[in-house]
């Protein structure tokens, strides 16, 4: 109904924001801080049980171990933010790792070309995912689930029971998997650079903001004239390319590939992304959060062994912690929403 004369006519000057949003921003950022905190807690508890968990080597392992999942989580975040999902990344990793390894084994390419080939393979798969999703308006879960099988099958046909071993891969390539600068592993640096660039871009460029817009409300995105098809396709291509790159890094890190490499990674990556606070139905979440999520999951896995927990219990505990992380994130975001609600009233002029 309809207030009238009584309402103060003077526009409230742009006051309110400053304080309340400052706090809000902090809260929102807290979602990433929360995960970082969780990592610290896991490390601390483990270190209490086993003082060697914080040795330099061990820290390198913590950083390195989550790298591949973290890298794929970046791409998956881009896709999930648009309210899509990419289930084919594990298969993509396997295929690209094998093909690159095979080319190395035949001395067909040098180290740099290895990266290029891996990225191109991934990008092409991403393009197919994107094209089918966008062109035929098929749910991406169906498309990428189908592609998961297709790529894994094609991979099997190519691999045909062979495998790549350490002697097939140039030493300078596997060096990426373990060499360090200033004690920081190369692999981690590489992935961190990708994460930082992607994270910055996702905040800063129009096209990346449009990814969020598409996921937040596809209808509104259409009305706003956002080229949703192109953007979604780009997200899939990047996700594929990063999965391809992860394939090359898989080869570098483990120096062995068979047809099962990367099997089931898709669910791990999605778990990391969700733990990282990215909304599974699109529209919100950051690349940093997702990468931290990957780091957290990996740290948990490492910690369980390091804390000398019996092998039989590892999986169950990992599952329980995963649930706890999801629930915690939910609790946090509910708090944020409640805060928003409480501050909202202040902004109305009547």
């Amino acid at each position: 109904m309809t207030s009238t004369t009584t309402a103060p006519k003077t526009p409230v000057p742009a006051l309110a924001g400053a304080t309340s949003t400052g706090r809000l921003d902090a809260l929102l950022r807290a979602r990433e801080i929360g995960i970082a905190l969780a990592i610290v807690v896991v490390i601390a508890i483990t270190t209490l049980k086993n003082s060697h968990f914080l040795d330099a080597d061990s820290v390198q392992q913590i950083l390195n171990g989550g790298a591949l999942i973290g890298l794929m989580a970046v791409g998956e975040t881009l896709v999930i933010v648009t309210r899509n999902v990419d289930l084919s990344i594990g298969s993509t990793l396997g295929l690209s790792a094998y093909v690159v390894g095979d080319l190395f084994a035949h001395n067909a390419i040098d180290v740099w070309m290895g990266f290029v080939v891996a990225i191109v393979i991934g990008a092409v798969i991403g393009l197919i995912n994107g094209l089918v999703t966008v062109l035929f308006r098929v749910p991406s879960l169906v498309v990428t689930l189908a592609m998961l099988y297709v790529i894994r099958g094609v991979d099997g046909i190519i691999v045909n029971g062979r495998q790549i071993g350490a002697s097939d891969v140039p030493g300078s390539f596997t060096a990426i998997g373990y060499k360090t600068v200033l004690g920081i592993p190369w692999l981690f640096i590489l992935v961190a650079v990708v994460v930082i660039i992607a994270g910055y871009a996702m905040r800063t460029f129009r096209s990346s903001r449009e990814l969020y817009a598409i996921g937040s409300s596809p209808q509104a995105a259409m009305l706003a004239g956002i080229p949703a098809a192109r953007r979604v396709m780009t997200a899939f291509v990047i996700s594929g390319a990063l999965a391809g790159l992860a394939g090359a890094l898989f080869l570098a890190q483990y120096a062995q590939v068979n047809n099962n490499s990367g099997l089931g990674y898709e669910l791990t990556v999605i778990a990391a992304v969700v733990v990282g606070g990215v909304a599974i139905f699109g529209g919100s979440g950051t690349v940093f959060g997702a990468a931290l999520g990957a780091l957290l999951l990996n740290t948990i896995n490492l910690a369980l062994v390091a804390a000398r927990i019996s092998a039989s219990w590892n999986q169950a505990i990992a599952g329980a912690l995963l649930l706890a992380a999801i629930a915690f994130d939910r609790w946090l975001s509910l708090r944020v929403t409640r805060k928003l609600r409480n501050t909202e009233g202040a902004h109305r002029d009547i």
Partner: protein, 339 residues
């Protein structure tokens, strides 16, 4: 998939099982036999080699091999292949079981349909039904004890050791680990601190390995009786020279060559998977032709490998044939093998 294997050095001298004396039942192997090889999955590199050995055997005998399995290491993926063998009225099935028991009902049906059942690489455990012959890569006990002996030699029989295995449910690894534990009693100063499972996935293997190293800073040795585990561990140790841990186990020479040469690994063992398949092919054909039986002491010819004898059932297992002792690979001989 795992597993490990070794080159039964050819000919006649194989350990327990092989005998020089060809035998009996007089008959010759039938031509035109169909043998289904059902590996753990169609991509397992080790078993692909074994299947090729089987193919070679059947070629020599004028029969044919059908290789059939799923892409995942599960019993559920193997059952359709058993069914297909029944429907195709195959003469024999040679299976590397992903599960010691889950395949029993299907294999029973196959046996009832007159198909001879053999297992290799990873045995089934179905009691007496179906009657089946296990083509053992090497005597199970020998594998277990020799791994421990090899490591003990490297460590002067002292220090903490750990086992990096495949899946917690892997049958043959578990059998070997059982014998390892027995053998360890002979080395009171060597202490097995834990067994971890890498699920034959490099990433998981690496993760549990890293956890292992930080959990047990005084760890001196690792036995990894699985090809994926040992190569993952070797890759890690060869790139982290500050971690001083002795490593042995079962691995493919082609994968391990680099690590033996750079000194990361002193020695490890395996047998030649293609010979295992070859032996299985001959055994299957002999059984299917009635030229051999599963009775203890029955013997049959296995082409270029010479002659083999069926061993008596041991506790919990059925009759078996043993390919031969595993080959131990080290700097001196590794270049001679290319599987």
């Amino acid at each position: 998939g795992c597993s490990s294997q070794s080159t039964g050095n050819g000919g006649s001298t194989a350990s327990g099982g092989a005998t020089g004396s060809a035998t009996n039942s007089g008959g010759t192997v039938k031509k035109g036999l169909t043998v289904y090889f059902i590996p753990k999955d169609t991509q397992n590199p080790y078993e692909v080699l074994a299947d090729k050995g089987g193919q070679k055997a059947l070629q020599e005998l004028g029969g044919k091999v059908v290789v059939s399995s799923g892409t995942a290491d599960t019993a559920a993926a193997q059952i359709p292949s058993v069914q297909a063998a029944i429907q195709a009225k195959a003469d024999a099935i040679v299976i590397a079981a992903n599960d010691p028991k889950a395949l029993c009902p299907s294999l029973n049906q196959a046996a009832k349909a007159g198909i001879k059942i053999l297992s290799f690489d990873s045995d089934i455990s179905c009691g007496n039904s179906p009657q089946h012959l296990f083509i053992n890569q090497a005597d199970t006990k020998t594998i277990g004890t020799s791994e421990v002996d090899m490591l003990a030699k490297q460590l002067n029989s002292t220090g903490q050791i750990a086992i990096l295995s495949a899946a917690q449910s892997a049958t043959n690894q578990n059998a070997w680990i059982g014998y390892m534990k027995q053998q360890l009693k002979k080395y009171p100063k060597m202490q097995l601190v834990t067994t971890v499972y890498g699920n034959d996935d490099p990433a998981t293997s690496l993760n549990v390995l890293k956890g292992l190293i930080s959990a047990y800073p005084n760890l001196k040795g690792i036995i990894s009786p699985t090809t994926v585990g040992i190569s993952t561990a070797a890759q890690y140790l060869s790139t982290h020279k500050n971690v001083k841990i002795a490593l042995t186990g079962l691995g493919l020479p082609s994968q391990m060559r680099a690590y033996v040469k750079d000194g990361t690994v002193q020695n490890f063992a395996l047998w030649d998977p293609s010979k295992l398949g070859y032996l299985a092919g001959y055994a299957a054909s002999a059984l299917a032709s009635g030229t051999a039986t599963m009775d203890t002491g029955a013997s049959f010819k296995a082409g270029t490998l010479g002659s083999y004898k069926v061993l008596a059932p041991a506790a919990g297992t059925g009759p078996s044939v043993v390919l031969g002792p595993p080959t131990v690979f080290d700097k001196s001989n590794i270049d001679k093998f290319n599987f």
